[in-house]
Symmetry: C2
Subunit: 370 residues, 2 copies
Amino acid sequence: MKIAALDIRACRHDDATIPGAAMRDGQAREGLEFVVYTLRTEDGQSASMFGFAGRSALGAAHQAAASLRPFLLGRDARDREAIWHDWRTADRWWHHLPIYSFGPVDCCLWLLAAEAAGEPLWRFIGGARAEVPTYASSLVLADAEAYAAEAVAVRAAGMKAYKIHPPGRSLAEDIEIHRAVRAAVGDDFALMSDPVQPYTYDEALRLGRELERLGFLWLEEPLPDEAFSALRELTRALDIPVVGTEVLAKHPYSVAECIASRVVDAVRADPSWTGGVTGTLKTARLAEAFHVNCELHTTIFHPLEMVNLHLAGAIRNCSYFEVLWPIDTFAFGLDRALPIRDGIAHLPDTPGLGARLDWDMIDNATIAKV
Amino acid sequence: MKIAALDIRACRHDDATIPGAAMRDGQAREGLEFVVYTLRTEDGQSASMFGFAGRSALGAAHQAAASLRPFLLGRDARDREAIWHDWRTADRWWHHLPIYSFGPVDCCLWLLAAEAAGEPLWRFIGGARAEVPTYASSLVLADAEAYAAEAVAVRAAGMKAYKIHPPGRSLAEDIEIHRAVRAAVGDDFALMSDPVQPYTYDEALRLGRELERLGFLWLEEPLPDEAFSALRELTRALDIPVVGTEVLAKHPYSVAECIASRVVDAVRADPSWTGGVTGTLKTARLAEAFHVNCELHTTIFHPLEMVNLHLAGAIRNCSYFEVLWPIDTFAFGLDRALPIRDGIAHLPDTPGLGARLDWDMIDNATIAKV
């Protein structure tokens, strides 16, 4: 099962425009850029996967072509563990690729193996459950009314929980938003908060106390993932679980410290940013051994979300499957919708991914083959 | 001093070929790829700097053009601290650039400011010393004889110390190499070891003990920088200083834990991989407050090495200035040689960088303007 080719397409989906205010980086995205990788073996097998690309699909594609392609060609596609380790070494010596480069290629290796075994990926890994409750994650919205309305819509759509990405402009506004959402959905609907690092320690503590009063399920990334010392204190000060680590580079080694010394109460991982299926499984199993949850992080793009769902089906210490909302904004790249019915994601029965990529859409989105 | 333009060139220097065996990533580099950034202000000032690019200057250039250019345009070039913080936030939200992208642009901001003040960069930051002892760092060489011969040549060239990057194929071979080098240069020449993560904990401990017997100055990166738990134990087990952190993403927040809980005895930072002059100063000053050294890490490319030298001239808690050997392999990009005489690097007296970029060389090396 020798790797014969790694095809790389730089793509841009113009229909998925995200307003500048929806992400706190001050830049509008007219169109979403991504990469599509296809790994081909000498015996004619292939697997394809989307990859995150930041704002430059061309940049991500050129890097993968220069670094990952020569690294992979000629290797046995079944040697996933050796490839993961050898890439870690090679990357450290000269490449220093972004956190999102290796993951999709590792996903292709796992899909090839699952397809060869005739099993859906989650059962190839080792089935844990066939159904996973799903929650919707907001983008950054305009005001408390917008969040409250979206939370009600999410609940009406059958989703099992709603996670707020508040604007982070001020603690007072963020607290107002969390209160408005709780008031809108009532006490029995699960809510989480993910402010993405805007606060001082004191502000994070005050928001956490408010979320405890409001009955939120967890407080995610109130401080930078790297701020181990401050997070470790916050985790001890608050009863509400503090969650993080999705943007730490070099899972699982970097996360070991967080888990072993409980920098956070639950960690985050995903196949896009934290090293593919291999990296995510390492982090999830490491967390499990410490009785810590690994809450899978959205991979944004639905083909990657399918891999994420398979991981959720093979991991016990994860509460939910996460999807960005509105889901239609991100519903491209697959030949079907994500298999979510009434807020329950259903693991596929068919071999491999359990869905095909939408190659017409990909052809239309292709900027360059690199 | 509003930023009007960020010019970005993807470059490749074909004369600087590094054999595949010289870096432990299994890939020969025929030619060295890099990026040249030029930051221009509305009032006609400009500063330029090289940037690391892994194996793909095109990839690095496209990413910087898509992410850093729109972020910087229109900002006041004097607002370095705000730019550093705002970029940290923006990068976390969507960009996730490689560790090497932001540093060179931050260097340009500092050079603009130093030139406007009419001061050499090190004195603009705050002069600490005008002369810095310099050491040579090996690539990975063929065998013990090659290392011993290079160490003797380095000493003959007046350099003040020699750092071995051993092959890391086996502990026995690496120990043989360190012994051969010590025997070749005698007991009075300073030696360091930088194996770059090949070992088990036990092997690292055994090498450390041998280096203590051989009178080495420090043991660098014997284990992955992310392996905090293992490194913290190793640091306590060994008398010889254990050094690391040059490849941790997101200095200085990530390094705070290493310094505060002494994961390593001394940290590493540089303006290329750890956030420019701003990021390196943050890490160096943080380390200083804990009575920990910040040993500046080579930036490979000599224009960046000049910035590194200025930092060495503005930081007390750094023993040496580091350059890769053979120095001629990397002696391109400046209009003059690095100001090293008899192993002492001399800080320039002229404003800004104290050297000009070699634009003829850069023109010849330019693959694309992005």
